[in-house]
């Protein structure tokens, strides 16, 4: 019977060294709310777990010149209690806070949610819509990558075996900017998104959209940045024609499967509905931040 090794290094260099030298399957753990469950269910047999929670900078939220830096293992509960982050990025926070139960929120992290690489991860479409950047450390030092480049397929990321995410950065926002995230589940909580949609917008004084990003989850093997939906918003107030164009663009971006959580037709339809509704919330929030 093979043994499982566990390490909780206190420096980034040690963590990278452990991952570089690992034989077999090495997994990086932050909150562990996905990883430990997968191991208990027998879906994953790891040889080494590198726990990041003792690393400097892995927890906490700081703001400098409007740029928010979020430690990769910062819990959903911590995000939800940060008034500044909630005011600037309500969509990112509401997405992160949808993950799991109250108990899970005490542990679940943005990095874990992203690197678990589920197409249905709640925080990921919101982070992509927000234009979030992942700060990645590895044997060659530090690099930065847009969040939408991290997940490459179900359960697969673009990170090397000895790389992990240390922090996320959310860009500074102009006035009249905000975001929103909606997911569809058949219940009120404790569920996995059938479809998720994040929308981030900046409006001018007349309520016309000047910048937008729209991202969908659970409608394709990875989250989808829907440029056509963003383009449908830019240059427009949220009138009926714009809403219809956003709906159509979102539906066109879908490449879903039929599974136990929803059919292809249902997911495509809901993607359009959520894109419209999330855009409405984001516009309303942005308008209120004049």
């Amino acid at each position: 019977m093979s043994a499982l090794s566990y390490a909780a290094p206190s420096t980034v260099q040690d963590a990278i060294g452990l991952l570089s030298g690992a034989k077999g399957i090495a997994k990086v753990m932050s909150g562990g709310t996905d990883l430990l469950v997968q191991m208990k269910m027998g879906r994953l047999k790891a040889d080494l777990i590198v726990d990041t929670k003792k690393l400097p900078g892995i927890f906490g939220i700081t703001e400098s010149a409007g740029v928010f830096t979020i430690g990769a293992a910062t819990s959903g509960a911590q995000l939800g209690e940060h008034e500044g982050l909630k005011a600037a990025w309500p969509g990112v926070v509401e997405a992160a806070n949808l993950i799991g139960s109250t108990q899970v929120q005490g542990r679940a992290s943005l990095a874990g949610n992203l690197c678990n690489a589920s197409p249905a991860a709640d925080s990921v479409p919101a982070m992509i819509a927000a234009g979030a950047v992942a700060v990645i450390v590895g044997p060659n030092g530090q690099r930065e990558a847009p969040v939408e480049t991290i997940v490459v397929g179900p359960g697969r990321t673009s990170l090397a075996k000895d790389e992990f995410i240390l922090q996320f950065r959310l860009p500074a926002r102009p006035a009249r900017s905000s975001d929103a995230y909606l997911r569809f589940i058949p219940r009120t909580e404790m569920d996995i998104a059938v479809v998720g949609c994040g929308v981030s917008v900046t409006l001018d004084a007349q309520g016309v959209c000047t910048a937008a990003r729209v991202a969908l989850g659970a409608v394709a093997p990875t989250q989808v940045l829907v440029t056509a939906a963003a383009n449908a918003l830019i240059g427009h107030t949220l009138d009926t024609a714009t809403l219809a164009a956003v709906d159509a663009a979102a539906r066109a971006a879908c490449n879903p499967i039929t599974d136990k959580r929803g059919t292809i037709d249902f997911r495509i339809k809901i993607a359009g509905v959520l894109a419209r509704r999330a855009a409405k919330i984001a516009y309303d929030r942005a308008g209120a931040r004049a």
Binding site: P186, R187, D191, K269
Partner: protein
């Protein structure tokens, strides 16, 4: 004690004392099935079939046995080959051959998750590793999951020797149809000829699980002298004793079963799965063996209840008098016969006083886990079809659906289509209370709909034993053989206190093991408060008679000259003598000098249970773009006879309604193309969470059952019967489309809205 007709005469019954099991449960001290441990115990695990249907060619456990720490491996070859024999110890018919083969597959595996072998090892990690070292050679066979497909000629056969029972002449070819049931009253063709309006439709439900929070667990020991003990949580430790003794060939006196606190059963713990395997492994290894199912195993290998496909046709005059009903119900039984199609055919139409009715049911096996009882087995399923059709009829007639039911309601003296004539029942009172409830006339907003549905369950009595003992200090111990799944310790203590005339705080009730009390049938059929309560009441009455005798002895007067009043012996009248009252505690103190300990054990086979009826109103709002259903308001009205502990009764009604709402909206067994269950976990098997639900308003109607001293009826099962149709009728009204298939999940509703355009 005769029937207490006047509620005002009761001092304890009808009050709401703090629940005696509550503190242990909320502080985590209650010992559930998995909480028992013994020195030297091994961990038992089951190897389960990955195939829905396959012949077992060979099981080779040599590699597993070679692993250090593995102490025993068993398969069907290690267990007695049990012959076909019908039994009735659980909540429904049980064939011991099928039970044995369900616990451990013999020759063939019949569903994904079917047990193929079991082993015991020193640690869980070793046990899990050893499972992967048992080599099973299968010949994979074609499988069938859907009930209608399983009935077709040419469908893969699970049992080559199955010829449909109760069909004349006997079929010439085997099929997956185990049994046909048939109820007929009057002339259906003549009835439909008289109808002004006819509705008909086909209704489908999916298999759903009881979803008790506590997984199955058992700890077993087998001593060198043949004495065996099992600790387990179940709805009947006498059931475990009977089943395990039969399956392993043990004399009943050599098997003692000790009940654990139970974390939910809902009918699903009226059979055995792990218990015989744990004991067989204990016998083989010589060490105690503990087995606990994972949630995934609970879904794949225990429960569930049937999914069904049902046709209903109802004819009525334009005045709303039903002239005829015909129906065919096709029920999944799982891999072995025994679906609840018969009670479904009976209950679905029992609310209506019908002249012409014909109902046919089919019990159909397919490659699914064998169904187990689930709260009012069959009735919610059949009533979904019947109460949806009645609702459609009301829509078509333009008639208030409660008025339509009132026009056709059964009452005392009504003869059902299955032959029984109802005694005192409260259906009319329930309908009147429902119609009068403010919910029924409250306004609705856009995209909102209201549904009403009613339901019936027989309620039963049966065999129960109870003992009442007066302790030396005057406190009272009550022991029964009924596992407490719905507050029976509270209700037994209350009924004993009522008879003894003392505060309920002085009475402590427990669940006694199989060696410590007489035989008691399972906790099921809504029978315990009625039947075990009757045994408790009679035992308390015996104790009162004895207490009077002791007082007479102390006073040196005739026992006839002593009365029992408010917990004290008093002289029956002025001529009896001028004695001060003698309290129970004073008599208890002198028990040694008046004949020894005071106590009584009574065993009964209680008859005369009171039938139960309920009516539920449900309001929903449907998001027309997504099909998402919000349950806005829910009212459940029920005739409970008389509530012993009203809070527990309301809890039963709320719990039943919630399980029914889950059944209606999102719960279902989802199978993939390989015949494998795709959602064997609480993430994707969606029971409602608390935030999905409004407060369920439970309304108690009390039409006493005069055959019980306190007038009670069983209450636990009726409340799960109406919700399926109540929710479906509400959704149908909200979207303006009659919904025929459960669950009413968002994709289903969305598709219906889109199809209508």
């Amino acid at each position: 004690m005769t029937y207490v007709g006047n509620k005002a005469d009761l001092k304890v019954v009808g009050t709401r004392p703090v629940r005696p099991d509550g503190v242990d449960k909320v502080t985590g001290r209650a010992t559930f099935g998995a909480d028992f441990n013994l020195p030297g115990q091994l961990v038992g695990k089951v190897l389960r079939s990955p195939h829905p249907h396959a012949r077992i060619i060979k099981i080779d456990a040599s590699r597993a046995l070679a692993l250090t720490g593995v102490k025993a491996v068993i398969s069907a070859e290690d267990l007695p080959n049990i012959a076909s024999e019908e039994a009735f110890v659980g909540e429904g018919p049980m064939n011991f051959r099928d039970l044995s083969r369900n616990c451990m597959a013999r020759d063939k595996v019949l569903y994904e998750g079917h047990a193929v072998a079991a082993l015991a090892a020193t640690t869980e990690a070793i046990a899990n590793a050893a499972l992967a070292l048992i080599d099973v050679t299968y010949e994979v066979l074609p499988f069938v999951i859907d009930v209608n497909e399983a009935m077709q000629p040419g469908a893969p056969l699970l049992d080559d020797n199955m010829y449909t029972a109760n069909v004349e002449p006997k079929p010439t070819a085997p099929s997956n149809i185990a049994k046909r049931v048939h109820f007929k009253k009057g002339d259906v063709a003549a009835g439909f000829a008289k109808a002004d309006v006819i509705v008909s439709g086909t209704y489908n439900t999916e298999a759903v699980h009881q979803a008790y929070i506590e997984p199955h667990a058992a700890l077993a020991t087998a001593n060198a002298d043949g004495q065996c003990t099992i600790w387990a949580s179940s709805q009947g430790h006498f059931m475990i004793r009977a089943y395990v003794a039969k399956l392993l060939g043990i004399e009943i006196a050599n098997l003692r079963v000790i009940p654990a606190e139970i974390g939910g059963g809902f009918g699903g713990k009226t059979v055995v799965y792990l218990e015989p395997l744990a004991l067989a492994l204990a016998q083989k290894s010589g060490r105690p063996v503990k087995m606990v199912m994972s949630r995934e195993e609970v879904f794949r290998a225990s429960g569930p209840t049937s999914g069904a496909s049902m046709d209903v046709k109802i004819g009525a005059t334009k005045d709303g008098i039903i002239t005829a009903i015909s129906s065919e119900m096709r029920f999944q039984a799982g891999a072995f016969p025994g679906s609840p199609v018969q009670p479904a055919c009976m209950c679905a139409f029992a609310m209506y006083d019908l002249e012409n009715v014909e109902v046919t049911g089919y019990d159909v096996i397919s490659n699914r886990p064998k169904v187990a009882a689930y709260r009012a087995p069959g009735a919610p399923i059949g009533s979904f079809a019947s109460e949806s059709a009645i609702d459609e009829l009301a829509d078509k007639l333009g008639m208030d659906p409660i008025v339509l039911r009132q026009k056709n309601a059964v009452n005392q003296g009504s003869k059902t289509h299955y032959g029984v004539t109802f005694p005192e029942i409260g259906y009319e009172q329930v309908l009147a209370a429902t119609k009068a409830h403010p919910h029924w006339s409250a306004p609705l907003g856009p995209n909102q709909g209201r549904g009403v549905a009613t339901g019936f369950w027989f309620n039963i009595g049966g065999e129960s034993s109870a003992a009442v003992h007066i302790n030396e200090d005057g406190s009272v111990s009550v022991a029964t053989g009924s596992p407490d799944i719905g507050g029976s310790r509270a209700s037994m203590a209350m009924m004993a206190a009522e008879v003894l005339g003392i505060p309920v705080d002085n009475v402590r009730a427990i669940v006694a093991d199989t060696a410590s009390i007489g035989f008691t049938h399972v906790t099921g059929g809504s029978r315990v408060t009625y039947a075990t309560g009757m045994a408790t009441v009679q035992a308390a009455q015996n104790v009162v008679a004895d207490l009077k005798k002791r007082a007479a002895m102390i006073w040196d007067i005739s026992p006839d000259a002593v009365d029992w009043k408010d917990g004290e012996a008093v002289p029956a009248g002025a001529n009896a003598g001028g004695f001060d009252p003698l309290p129970l505690a004073a008599i208890a103190l002198k028990a040694g000098r008046t004949g020894g300990p005071i106590g009584s054990e009574v065993s009964v086979n209680a008859q005369g249970a009171g039938p139960g009826f309920g009516a539920h109103i449900c309001d929903v709002e449907v998001d027309p773009e997504t099909g998402y259903v919000t349950v806005l308001r829910y009212t459940a009205v029920q005739d409970v006879g008389r509530a012993i502990h009203p809070s527990y009764v309301e809890g039963q009604i709320q719990g039943g309604a919630v399980q029914g709402i889950g059944w209606a909206l999102n719960e279902e067994y989802i199978y993939n193309a390989k015949g494998s269950m795709d959602n064997a976990g609480f993430l994707d098997y969606r029971v409602p969470v608390a935030s999905d639900l409004p407060m369920i308003d439970a309304v108690l109607v009390e039409v006493p059952n005069p055959r019980h001293p306190f007038g009670l009826r069983g209450v636990g099962e009726v409340p799960i019967v109406p919700p399926l149709a109540a929710v479906a009728n509400a959704v149908s009204h909200a979207i303006g489309i009659r919904m025929h298939d459960l669950p009413l999940s968002p994709p289903t509703i969305c598709a219906a809205i889109d199809a209508k355009g």
